[in-house]
Symmetry: C2
Subunit: 155 residues, 2 copies
């Protein structure tokens, strides 16, 4: 079941890829159904807030007409950054599943550990490494293509 939802998050990441955005995707699940989706749109929207998770959380709050998403789970292809991890805490999301680690900017296990129990007034259950290879593959693919384009432009 969890893998099925992460596959849906990967579909969102692919949408970002096709728009030349760093391919990260997320879905939010409520009572076993996807209620919102998001993918990274930072460049296209010229907006630092437009991460996959923030877009999905914004839509979920609107859908449920509540800032409390305490019956919701979030699936995201990359370890959330501190902004997104913080938004997850603010939303009281129950469970977070992520794919690849983000050694440079991750806010859950890599650069900060914001979901460590009993720091904040809400504890998030977190499982990393779900479909990890697919989730990191799409990122590697994106950055290798970007480097090729860079090299060609320098010729």
């Amino acid at each position: 079941m969890e893998e099925k939802f992460m596959q849906e998050a990967l579909k969102e990441a692919k949408k970002a890829f096709n728009k030349k955005e760093v391919p990260i995707g997320a879905v939010i699940v409520y009572r076993n159904k996807i209620i919102s989706r998001g993918y990274n749109l930072r460049e296209r929207k010229n907006n630092s807030l437009m991460h996959a998770e923030i877009i999905a959380i914004n839509k979920a709050c609107k859908k449920l007409k509540s800032w409390r998403l305490d019956e919701c789970d979030l699936y995201v292809t990359l370890e959330p950054c501190p902004m997104c991890a913080g938004a997850i805490i603010q939303s009281r999301i129950k469970n977070v599943f992520f794919g690849a680690n983000d050694p440079k900017a991750g806010g859950v296990v890599s650069k900060a550990e914001l979901f460590k129990p009993n720091i904040f007034n809400h504890n998030v259950n977190v499982i990393g490494g779900l479909l990890e290879s697919e989730c990191s593959e799409i990122l590697k693919d994106f950055f290798s293509k970007l480097r090729k384009v860079d090299k060609l432009q320098k010729l």
Copy 2:
């Protein structure tokens, strides 16, 4: 000069107060001018993302048509939570001035230290305690009024 801008953030906090929202306000300054303002609207908007800083950052990105706010400073009456501290890092905001500490949920000095140098790819300069007493006074006032209402409702 810094105090003048924090006074403007306090004006935003007062708008939140008058709407029965936890009174926190923020302004963003670019080349010595306020380009965006925000105050907490979580309850009214039923949205966990609607913190003063997020609202102000969103508006500033739209105004400058850029996700990079690297020539901007942010003034906020309360220590940013991890979501807002992370959004400040994502936006490359240069300097952050905050008023009161948030011992329960602060992401800068209290519960996490996200602006500690050399963790992330952007270092934020931070100054806390600016107009601290005014900034904490409005919060105390809000919560004491809330408790009175609670007591009256229980009579």
